[in-house]
């Protein structure tokens, strides 16, 4: 049984806010702080912003296919990773014995052209079997969020971002945090 994609979240907020929105923002921030302080939200992915580079590659990521390059995002000094080639793939293996989470929330920030197809994959046991696969839609730096229900217990996850097609695909940020599966109705994956 595959882990279920419970709900895609659109983090795009109303971007025309001034004073009233600001007040609402503060109130929301306070509420969010109180809520999140009662939850665990430890980051699962390292260097989620592709900020650390070693010899032309993001240090914390493994280039499996194709090539990568730094690419400016909103500012010329803020870089994301551009997936070069068709196909191209980067991945990161998280091997932690204590990984016991309810759900995993992904927040993505990417710029993907229509002629490119980018897929986020999760291989929970790094056994080559992709338990979760989510196509990242074409976007122009619009934040996207997904909540995934993982297996009840696992020891490792390989996160992989795979790109096919000739179009441009730049990822600026991909964070994964454990979160509670509040209102998530889908069942967890059974133990193997």
């Amino acid at each position: 049984m595959k882990p279920s994609l419970n709900r895609p979240l659109n983090r795009s907020l109303n971007r025309s806010r001034i004073l009233p929105a600001h007040i609402g923002r503060v109130l929301f921030g306070v509420a969010a702080f109180l809520l999140l302080s009662a939850q665990s939200c430890d980051p699962i992915i390292e260097d989620s912003g592709f900020d650390i580079w070693c010899d032309g590659e993001p240090c914390r990521w493994e280039v499996e296919q194709g090539d990568v390059a730094q690419a400016p995002t909103w500012h010329k000094r803020d870089h994301g990773v551009e997936l070069l080639g068709d196909p191209a793939a980067i991945s990161q293996l998280q091997m932690e014995s204590h990984i016991t989470v309810d759900c995993i929330r992904f927040d993505l920030l990417a710029d993907i052209e229509e002629t490119a197809s980018v897929v986020l994959e999760m291989d929970f046991y790094d056994d080559g079997e992709v338990e979760f696969s989510q196509i990242i839609p074409t976007s122009d730096w619009a934040p996207l969020s997904y909540v995934v229900t993982p297996p009840a217990k696992f020891e490792m996850i390989r996160f992989r971002i795979r790109k096919t097609g000739s179009g441009r695909a730049v990822l600026a940020d991909i964070t994964a945090e454990d979160t509670r599966c509040t209102n998530v109705a889908a069942p967890r994956r059974d133990m193997p």
């Binding site: 806010r17 390292e46 650390i52």
Partner: protein, 564 residues
């Protein structure tokens, strides 16, 4: 202090020649409107030994204007001639005669005005002279039932030359005697032994100035909406005498001699028909100076007595009114709309000087023997147009696509106090209207992001250089409200500080639009305090993703204003 040009001003008044019987004001009014012609002549140049006059031609222009505005003369029938030769002047008189011939003599009016140099028996037209007898005869021969003849003629030169000298025989005095015809009325600015003066502050001769003030309504003592030649004379006599008595040259006594057997009142102007009128209410007491704005040209100076309102007929427009009472000098900037009477509200005026300041020799105080009343006004009026304004306050940050993008990329705002500061230069360009040039900090923001390798900081600041048009409404003598709108240039600078402390800066240029409203408390003459609430819109800063940030936003500023 005025530069006094000593001259002899002569006035020949009105000559009414008509058949026997009572001529009432309505008939005069009808006659003036129907067949009224005027020839108004001004000539500044003097002959040999005479200094060039400064305001004779301007006086003529003003007389022509008043005749058209208030005298019932059609503009096309008011001939304004400057610096004519004797031949040209006689031709003009003849041309008027031709025009008058088309109407019955008993229904026609002719008004003649001359301002310039003259000697005892002739007027000086530059280097040429026109014999008085010839001029008189030409005028008397005109086929007009009513002839109003005004001659404003200087005889002598500069003050230093006439000091201690005996003036020549008075032209107007001679004229009165020589125009010995039935129906002649002569109003002369001075007696045979007196000199008259021009005023640099008034930009006019004293007598013509006060005559015009009278004709604009200040002379309407019986408040019937008309100014008769008698009323104009009485007003001009007192005002001219009062002003010239303070000068070193000496007093002028206006003369009026008439021969109006069986005639009624001669109405010269109808202020009630004016385009706009300024009403000085009964409680206003003191010297009242009305200046055109922004030229500061003196339109009227009135010694206002208490109890009776006085209406001054003026073209619609903007004026500055100064009222010198016993305790203070009030300044009132006022706009007169057309077609109505506007009442002067002292409560809305600004107090320039209190009695204490006046007693200490502040501008406007002191002995009056060495200067003229208008000079005193002149020392008060200017110098209040400029002010420096300093302000500081806070603004409410604007959140938009740009800041949202920073949020998306995990930046968090650093909550420093968002200050706003500015310096401005304000100039009053019209009553209740100021132009303000202002340099202001529109925004200063800072965002921080933590990544594995350290902390990144992104900040920006925006300055605006804008010009605002500000309308000011004085509610009391010390309290005003204002509103302003404007725009200008804005410059922004962004700074990206990376984890390795390297800094990347970018500059941006754009525009700023702004509006604000505020209150002004002015407890002292030159110092005021302001509180202002405004909004600025400066879309200057952008990013690689074409998000544009509108700097500015709602702001609140407290400021101080220093006039100079």
């Amino acid at each position: 202090m005025n530069r006094l040009v000593i001259c002899t001003i002569f006035m020949l008044g009105a000559a009414l020649v008509a058949g026997p019987g009572q001529v009432d004001a309505q008939e005069i009014a009808h006659r003036s409107t129907a067949h009224a012609h005027a020839l108004v002549v001004g000539s500044n140049p003097g002959g040999q030994g005479q200094e060039t006059l400064r305001y004779a031609e301007d006086d003529a222009a003003r007389v022509a204007r008043v005749l058209s505005e208030l005298g019932g003369y059609e503009a096309k029938r008011v001939r304004l001639v400057t610096r004519p030769t004797p031949e040209r002047l006689l031709q003009e008189i003849a041309a008027v005669g031709d025009a008058l011939a088309a109407a019955p003599a008993e229904e026609s009016v002719f008004f003649f005005y001359y301002s310039g140099h003259a000697r005892a028996n002739a007027i000086n037209l530059g280097e040429h002279e026109l014999d008085l007898a010839t001029l008189r005869q030409k005028i008397l021969d005109l086929p007009a039932g009513l002839k109003v003849i005004v001659l404003d003629a200087c005889q002598s030169g500069a003050f230093s030359r006439v000091k201690g000298a005996e003036p020549a025989a008075d032209f107007s005095f001679n004229s009165v005697n020589r125009l010995n015809a039935t129906g002649v009325a002569v109003m002369a600015s001075s007696s045979a032994s007196e000199l008259s003066q021009e005023s640099e502050t008034l930009k006019s001769s004293f007598f013509t100035h006060y005559l015009l003030v009278a004709l604009r309504g200040a002379g309407d003592s019986n408040r019937d909406g008309r100014v008769s030649i008698d009323e104009a004379y009485r007003y001009a006599y007192h005002a001219t005498l009062a002003s010239t008595a303070r000068t070193q040259v000496g007093s002028q006594h206006v003369m009026l001699e008439t021969e109006l057997e069986g005639k009624g009142e001669i109405t010269l102007t109808y202020p009630a028909r004016a385009d706009a009128r300024l009403r000085l209410p009964g409680p206003v007491v003191g010297e009242v100076l009305v200046q055109d704005w922004p030229s500061n040209a003196v339109i009227a100076e009135i010694q206002k007595a208490g109890g009776t309102p006085v209406d001054v007929a003026l073209p619609h427009g903007a004026y500055r009114v100064l009222v010198r009472g016993t305790d203070a000098v009030e300044q009132c900037d006022i706009t007169l709309p057309g077609g109505r009477v506007t009442r002067l509200r002292l409560a809305a005026c600004t107090t320039l000087f209190h009695s204490a300041a006046l007693a200490k020799g502040a501008p406007g105080s002191g002995q009056l023997t060495a200067t003229t009343a208008p000079d005193r006004w002149a020392e008060i009026s200017p110098g209040r147009r400029w002010a420096v304004e300093l302000g500081a306050g806070v603004f409410v940050p604007v959140y938009d696509d740009y800041t949202q993008r920073l949020d998306d990329f995990d930046f968090s705002e650093s909550w420093d106090l968002p200050p706003r500061a500015g310096i401005g230069l304000a100039s009053q360009v019209a009553p209740r209207v100021e132009i303000v040039g202002e340099l202001t900090t529109l925004e200063q923001r800072r965002y921080i992001r933590s990544i594995e390798s350290g902390e990144q900081e992104f900040s920006w600041s925006v300055l605006g250089l804008a010009v605002h048009a500000r309308g000011v409404l004085d509610l009391t003598r010390w309290f005003s409200v204002y509103a302003q709108v404007g725009g200008g240039l804005a410059a922004g600078r962004t700074e990206f500080v990376d984890t390795d402390e390297s800094i990347d800066t970018e500059s941006h240029i754009g525009f700023v639009l702004g509006a604000a409203a505020g209150i002004r408390i002015q407890p002292w003459q030159r110092l005021a305090f302001q509180a202002q609430l405004g909004y600025d819109h400066a879309p200057v800063i952008d990013n690689l993703l074409d998000d544009v940030h509108a700097s500015g936003g709602v702001n609140s500023v407290l400021g101080v204003r220093v006039g100079f």
